[in-house]
C-alpha cells in the first residue's frame, strides 16, 4: 500500500506541506517495504485553474492508496474520493512523524473537504 504525503522537501525529515493542490512535492511511501520516492508537483504551483484536481489525478496515477496532507478542497476531495483514495490530515509534523502516527491510527480520516476551494 502506498501513501502520498504533501511535503516541503524531498526527504522523510522534511516538514509536511499543509496545502494539497499547490504543495511543492509529494513523498510516496510504500508501507509494504518501507521505501519511498518523491513526486514533484511544481507544475501545479503555476497551474491556471484547478490545481487540486490535477494534483489529485497525478497522485492517483502514481498509485497512491491514501493521502496525508493539511487541507483538501472540494474538487480535489471529489477526485480522490471517486478513486477510493482515503484522506488523512496532519499539521506541523515531519513526513516520518506523520507516517508513524498513521501507523498507530492516530491521524484523523476525513469524509468531506476541509476547506473551501480557492477557485483558481
Amino acid at each position: 500500500m502506498k501513501i502520498a504525503i504533501s511535503s516541503k522537501g524531498n526527504t522523510l525529515e522534511s516538514a509536511t506541506d499543509p496545502r494539497f493542490g499547490r504543495a511543492q512535492q509529494f513523498i510516496i511511501y510504500d508501507l509494504d517495504n518501507g521505501t519511498h520516492s518523491t513526486f514533484n508537483n511544481t507544475q501545479n504551483l503555476t497551474s491556471s485553474h484547478g490545481a487540486g484536481i490535477q494534483t489529485a489525478q497525478n497522485i492517483i496515477n502514481a498509485g497512491a492508496d491514501l493521502v496525508i496532507t493539511g487541507n483538501v478542497g472540494p474538487n480535489a476531495f471529489n477526485v480522490l474520493n471517486s478513486a477510493g483514495v482515503k484522506i488523512y490530515l496532519t499539521s506541523g509534523l515531519t513526513v516520518q512523524e506523520a507516517i508513524e502516527k498513521y501507523k498507530k491510527g492516530e491521524l484523523e480520516n476525513v469524509s468531506s473537504n476541509t476547506v473551501e476551494g480557492h477557485w483558481v
Binding site: R19, R22, T46, S48, H49, E116, G117, H118, W119, V120
Partner: protein, 292 residues
C-alpha cells in the same frame, strides 16, 4: 495560527484602500497583501521598497504560423470565441487559450505557448512586509494572480512568525473577489450610504454567505446621508451582520492620499482616524489573535 482579514467593497470607490492603509498602522504583526491586482493602489500610500519580483505566467494563447497555414478554415469553424479572423489572424484579446484550434489544425500551423501576463512584487514598508501585483493590461486570470499574492503573503507570515494577513480586496463579486475571500477568516465590507452602496452590499453579503465566511461592515462617509446610513444598519441587523463602525466624511482622507500617506500618519487625530482606531481595537477582539 495565521488569520486572514480581507477588506472588500462590492462597489468600487467606497474608500476601501484608504481604510486598509489606515488599519495597516493600527494592527500589529501583519503582512499586507494588495489583492486588487487589476488596479492596485495600496502602494501609493505605503511607500514600499521593492525587494523581490516574480513573473506571473498563466494560461496559453494560440498564434497562426502563416507559412504553414493552408487556410482550410477548420480553426474558424471550431473556435467558439470568435477569436480567429477571416484572414487567419488570432485576436489575442478574444482568445481564451482553450487550444482547440491548436489540437485540430490539420496543417499543424498553430503555436500554443505560455503567456507572461503580469508581475508579483514583495516589498518592505514601514508597516511591515507587503505583497502586491500588477496584472498585464487586457489579461485574464486575475483570480490566479490573487491566489499567488495570498500564498506569498502566507509564506512570509510563516517565515517571519506574523499572525495576521491584512488583505485589500478587489471590487465586485466575480472571480478575483472569490479568489480573495475563499478560506479567509474574516471579511469586512466597506460601503457608503447611497442606494448603489446598499444594493452592492446586499450582493457582497450574499457572496460571503455563499462561501460561509463571517462578514462585518464599515459605513464610510456615513454622515453624507444619515437616513441611508440608518437603513444600512437596519438591513445589517436583519441579516445578522455586525456593523464595525461609521466613518464620517473627512477631507483628511483625500489629503493624506495626495501627500502619499495613510490617514494615521497624516493626521491621527482627524475624525475618521478616531473611528478607525476604535474599529482596529474591535477587530482585535473579534479575531482570535493570540498565537496557537
Amino acid at each position: 495560527m495565521i488569520k486572514e482579514l480581507v477588506v472588500i467593497s462590492g462597489k468600487g470607490g467606497t474608500g476601501k484602500t484608504s481604510i486598509v492603509a489606515a488599519l495597516a498602522n493600527l494592527v500589529n504583526d501583519k503582512v499586507l497583501a494588495d489583492c486588487d491586482v487589476d488596479a492596485a493602489d495600496l502602494h501609493l500610500v505605503l511607500n514600499p521598497t521593492l525587494t523581490e519580483q516574480e513573473e506571473f505566467w498563466s494560461g496559453k494563447s494560440a498564434s497562426i504560423n502563416s507559412d504553414k497555414c493552408t487556410r482550410c478554415g477548420k480553426c474558424l469553424e471550431l473556435c467558439r470565441y470568435g477569436a480567429i479572423s477571416k484572414d487567419f489572424v488570432i485576436d489575442k484579446v478574444a482568445c481564451e487559450g482553450c487550444g482547440v484550434c491548436y489540437y485540430f489544425c490539420p496543417a499543424e500551423a498553430i503555436d500554443f505557448t505560455e503567456n507572461m501576463c503580469g508581475h508579483m512584487y514583495v516589498s518592505t514598508t514601514s508597516q511591515g512586509p507587503m505583497v502586491h501585483a500588477r496584472l498585464g493590461i487586457a489579461e485574464e486570470n486575475s483570480g490566479k494572480l490573487v491566489t499567488m499574492v495570498r500564498n506569498k503573503a502566507r509564506e512570509i507570515a510563516e517565515e517571519k512568525d506574523l499572525d495576521t494577513i491584512l488583505i485589500d480586496g478587489p471590487p465586485g463579486i466575480g472571480c478575483p473577489v472569490i479568489a480573495s475571500i475563499t478560506g479567509a477568516n474574516f471579511v469586512i465590507a466597506v460601503t457608503e450610504p447611497t442606494l448603489s452602496g446598499i444594493h452592492d452590499l446586499e450582493r457582497v453579503a450574499g457572496l460571503a454567505k455563499h462561501f460561509d465566511i463571517p462578514l462585518s461592515v464599515i459605513i464610510n462617509k456615513a454622515d453624507i446621508n444619515k437616513e441611508m446610513s440608518q437603513q444600512i444598519k437596519d438591513k445589517c441587523h436583519k441579516m445578522g451582520i455586525n456593523v464595525l463602525g461609521e466613518i464620517p466624511y473627512d477631507e483628511a482622507i483625500t489629503k493624506a492620499q495626495i501627500q502619499g500617506l495613510d490617514l494615521i500618519r497624516y493626521d491621527s487625530a482627524s475624525p475618521a482616524a478616531e473611528v478607525l482606531k476604535n474599529i482596529a481595537s474591535d477587530i482585535k477582539d473579534l479575531l482570535p489573535f493570540s498565537k496557537e
